[in-house]
């Protein structure tokens, strides 16, 4: 651990530096175009998105970690393939969200919204590569604080304000509980480095019960971020109240960041307590799947339905975590990639329909295929992928997760998962029934979708199909990330 700056250090945080600069540039342009709202509405979303894609491209070129990876910044940051893959996931979600947001009247002119989106993505990037509890805590808060503001961004809208305050209160309480767990970890081991914790916890010189207590406390905070039951209460309210692009971002990138942290902390710091936390995670998975799917059946708002479905999906992904194996980790990352494009597409379409019909009821989708055949087909692909029907992305993701659990002999968990997948399929098909068989509803005013929105939807649809058909590149990405986590 030398104190001199090395090029490696700067390479390890290149994407974060890029995101910060991009956020500042956006705020400057927001000022330059203060009197020209049309310019802001037209270009800010594009600038965000293109900027992120550029950062992704450059960091794939210059800041790709080599080999086993290294620990940078005095042990704060782990520079490895897992961090890299997760960064790519978060940044693609942010780029797509920025494009979708340019369809949303109240957001597209607001430079500060895009800046908040970027800062929150920066926090997620650091979450995925944090190797120290101090940085991990700071990264989680850097992610959460902009998200609270984004959820309550529409200060003239009662529902958005309510979503913001509910999200904030849940987040503040759970993160304080998690932090108490962190302080106990520091107390028990005398270190905050995740990679040193492993040996400290394995030494077996801890009083009985304390490691267990710490794991439970920490899981409260992580459970909130991934919206797993019983820490899911915020999700339906926040998803339905927050601006729709924000809800899409919350359900994909924020959840993925939670899982990135969960994988690293559980499988590295608490590797010795595997027999305990796999049971806890399996219980959380079962609860999330049951609660998510059964409550989704009763929903009339499409955004609430997607919220409960996202809780259920957290449950499916947790099956992969509970497997506690290399295949399990791989399946989690694969699932997150597939879920990202699928759910962003679904929320993107809901965003457009909401602005046209003025309601987020499922009935607002009635006869969508006759109003616009393309949108109907896109929603069909997204919903079937969520339901896990081949050849769409969601099928392979579910297959891998279940395979990982079978490999470890968690047959009962797989049975619960498969049973829940059938229940899930029922309500997805119910929405499709409304789209294809019900008489079309009146559209209040027909906004043509902006080019940005179209491109984002095309990218998502291409993703849904490609991840379904063309398995190899995504699998090898997930594999690279997995081996970086399992190297220890």
């Amino acid at each position: 651990m030398s104190s001199a700056f090395t090029p490696e250090m700067w390479r390890s945080i290149f994407p974060e530096i890029g995101l910060l600069i991009l956020a500042i540039v956006l705020l400057v342009f927001d000022l330059i175009w203060l009197k020209q709202p049309q310019m802001r509405a037209r270009w800010l979303g594009w600038m965000t998105s293109i900027g992120i894609v550029l950062i992704m491209g450059i960091s794939a070129g210059i800041s790709m970690p080599q080999g086993q990876g290294s620990v940078e910044w005095g042990g704060m940051l782990r520079f490895d393939a897992a961090g890299f893959v997760f960064r790519m996931i978060f940044m693609s979600a942010a780029a797509l969200t920025a494009l979708f947001a340019s369809q949303f009247e109240a957001l597209k002119k607001r430079g500060e919204f895009y800046a908040l989106l970027l800062i929150s993505t920066l926090g997620m990037n650091l979450m995925a590569s944090a190797a120290d509890l101090i940085l991990l805590f700071l990264a989680i808060e850097t992610t959460s604080l902009p998200l609270y503001v984004m959820a309550g961004f529409l200060t003239r809208d009662d529902r958005s304000v309510e979503a913001g305050i509910k999200y904030f209160l849940f987040g503040a309480i759970t993160s304080a509980v998690m932090l108490y767990g962190f302080s106990l970890i520091y107390g028990l081991t005398g270190t905050t480095q995740i990679y040193e914790l492993r040996s400290a916890f394995q030494a077996g010189n801890l009083p009985v019960g304390l490691a267990e207590l710490v794991i439970v406390l920490v899981l409260v905070g992580f459970g909130f971020k991934i919206s797993a039951a019983p820490f899911h209460f915020w999700a339906p309210d926040v998803y339905s109240g927050a601006p729709t692009p924000v809800a899409g971002f919350l359900s994909t990138a924020s959840k993925a960041a939670g899982f990135a942290v969960l994988l690293r902390v559980l499988q590295i710091a608490f590797a010795g307590q595997g027999s305990l936390w796999t049971v806890l995670i399996a219980v959380l998975a079962t609860a999330s799947m049951l609660i998510g799917n059964y409550l989704a059946l009763a929903q009339r708002s499409i955004k609430r339905l997607l919220a409960y479905s996202s809780i259920a999906h957290a449950g499916y992904i947790l099956i992969g975590v509970a497997a506690d194996s290399e295949l399990g980790t791989l399946s989690v990352i694969y699932y997150l990639i597939a879920y990202l494009v699928t759910n962003l597409a679904a929320f993107g379409i809901v965003n457009l329909i909401e602005s046209r019909v003025g309601s987020d009821e499922i009935s607002a989708l009635a006869g969508l295929n006759r109003r616009s055949a393309g949108l109907g087909l896109a929603m069909l692909a997204a919903l079937l992928s969520l339901g896990g029907i081949p050849p769409f992305a969601g099928f392979f993701a579910k297959l891998l997760v279940f395979a990982a659990a079978v490999e470890r002999g968690l047959i009962w968990l797989v049975l619960v998962g498969v049973f829940n997948a059938v229940v899930g399929l029922y309500y997805y098909l119910n929405v499709l029934k409304v789209i294809y068989l019900h008489p079309p509803v009146e559209e209040k005013e027909v906004f043509p979708p902006t080019p940005a929105w179209r491109i984002a939807l095309w990218v998502c649809l291409a993703g849904i199909l490609l991840i379904g058909f063309w398995f190899a590149p995504w699998y090898s990405l997930a594999q690279a990330a997995t081996s970086a986590i399992w190297i220890y």
């Binding site: 604080l145 609270y148 302080s183 009339r300």
Partner: protein, 106 residues
């Protein structure tokens, strides 16, 4: 010299009071105060442990102190964002009471 355990019992009590306050109170500002108590319990913990380890080891480790500083900074930022959200809710609905925010349910 006060033993480490006393600090830990104190911080555990503080944490429980804070958690109870955060879960039992209906007023958003009171919930925030509960959260602040919880964060203070964390700080007491961290400083007590840091002091313990500083005495045990000859080389000074600053992890505990750095962590505490971060908790301070983040707590301040969190309160700033939280109060802004409470105010924006108060402007729309004329109430800081969370139970009366019932537009979103089901």
């Amino acid at each position: 010299m006060i033993p480490l355990a006393w600090y830990l019992i104190f911080s555990a009590a503080l944490f429980c009071i804070g958690l109870f306050g955060a879960l039992a109170r209906k007023n958003a500002v009171a919930i925030l105060m509960g959260v602040e108590l919880m964060l203070n319990a964390v700080n007491v913990n961290l400083i007590a442990f840091w002091h313990y380890y500083a005495q045990m080891r000859s080389t000074p480790y600053v992890h505990g102190l750095a962590f505490t500083t971060m908790v301070f900074v983040v707590a301040a930022a969190e309160v700033a964002v939280g109060l802004a959200l409470v105010i924006s809710a108060y402007r729309r609905r004329q109430t800081p009471v969370v139970d009366e925010l019932t537009l979103l349910k089901g």
